[in-house]
Symmetry: C2
Subunit: 245 residues, 2 copies
């Protein structure tokens, strides 16, 4: 039988999703738990890899197992074996023909930053402090340029390739709220797929534009050159929010 | 000269505020930083101690030092020496006659809990998961009983004494919001002072009442007996928000 698990994790102490030898990765601890539950080597495949330090509210992964455990009970079985910084929120059976690497229709990521004069220890784990207070209107104007189908080749970490760098973004939403004396900025991005580091590069450009940089987005989309865009944001501010099939 | 520092910390890896030999406490790291800055042993006194695991957004502490560093620059000096989980947000000079242990007019604490079927790793650091979804109205009704001047002897950890256990609570506010699929509950308490564990005991009783317990608050206030109240909540959900002079 094939099963889908919805998983949340605090990425702080993980070297990302994908197995890399003995490094502590989410895939490694998921497969360790699966081995104990099913008494067999079990591959756990995610809808998309997340980098070291990136968090997830609703990562989705699949596995195949020969078991009599009811699908909805797998959640508890995994949670009894997993370390505290990963939890399975839902588990369900899925058709054998389902292929998680192809089935995702859209994914949502969120980038969180805050502005305060001094680092706020209670914010630092899941958000990045900005040195300047960005102008929301400038960020929103720039964000509009990203929506739609584009070749995002410029929005990709150097050295990474994939068949195509054309992706469609359905929404790039920039929001501000005030909490405990800090201004918190979130960039929520929904699209049919993302390139390596794409959200962090896009967030870096939008925050830089908010702080006064002339937008390099049109040039970057046109030429595919990374140099028109600002610095990649750190991983800790990024959260994979949702995967939809 | 006497100085006041407003300090924020993530209490997760601290054994509370107060020095206890070589244990990692906030006072210890503050005094270590002060020693480096002023080249002299310097006592740092907080407006109120916080327990192991309790966080602070705006703890206030005082110190006396013989220095030519401008008061407002002390913030940066401390932050250059402190570990990342403590930050000085503001520094200012204060009159010699100021006594931080007596000068606080009111303090504000906040307790945060959430309800979700499974633990959410991204919430677990600063909030406690509730097994049941509490009824806000029941919590608010019970909270009203706490407001005003009362003898809170029952709301104190066993074995702790102080001259008087009479305190005045100006406000006990219960709020609910939804965030990332979880219902988040905050209890914000403002008063002229708090006994040892008082906010955590009070929060435990309010959440228990929200989940169906008959309130023991009146009996507890009347008799001073701890047994009428529910379990003390864990420290990680508690944050010292503000001290006012």
């Amino acid at each position: 039988m094939k099963y889908l698990l919805t998983v949340s994790y605090d990425g702080t102490h993980f070297c990302g999703w994908q197995k890399q030898g003995l490094l502590r990765t989410v895939q490694l601890v998921m497969e360790d738990a699966a081995r104990e539950i099913f008494k067999a080597e079990t591959k756990v495949t995610a809808s998309g890899r997340t980098d070291a330090g990136v968090h997830a509210l609703g990562q989705v992964c699949e596995l195949s197992a020969d078991t009599t455990i009811p699908a909805e009970k797998l959640r508890e079985c995994f949670n009894a074996k997993l370390p505290e910084d990963v939890r399975v929120l839902r588990s369900a059976a899925v058709e054998e023909s389902f292929d998680i690497t192809r089935a995702a229709k859209q994914k949502t990521y969120r980038y969180t930053a805050y502005y305060a004069e001094t680092e706020l220890p209670l914010f630092e784990r899941y958000a990045v402090r900005l040195e300047f207070k960005p102008l929301l209107e400038r960020m929103r104007e720039a964000a509009k340029l990203l929506v739609g189908e584009h070749d995002f080749a410029a929005f990709r970490a150097a050295g990474y390739t994939s068949k195509t760098s054309v992706r469609t973004l359905y929404e790039v939403k920039v929001e501000e709220r005030t909490e405990d004396g800090a201004a918190i900025y979130t960039i929520t991005v929904r699209g049919n797929g993302f390139l390596y580091n794409m959200v962090r590069i896009l967030a870096g450009e939008l925050f830089a534009v908010g702080c006064g940089k002339d937008t390099g987005i049109l040039k970057a989309l046109e030429t595919g050159e990374r140099k028109y865009l600002a610095k990649t944001m750190p991983s800790k501010g990024l959260t994979m929010v949702k995967v939809e099939f």
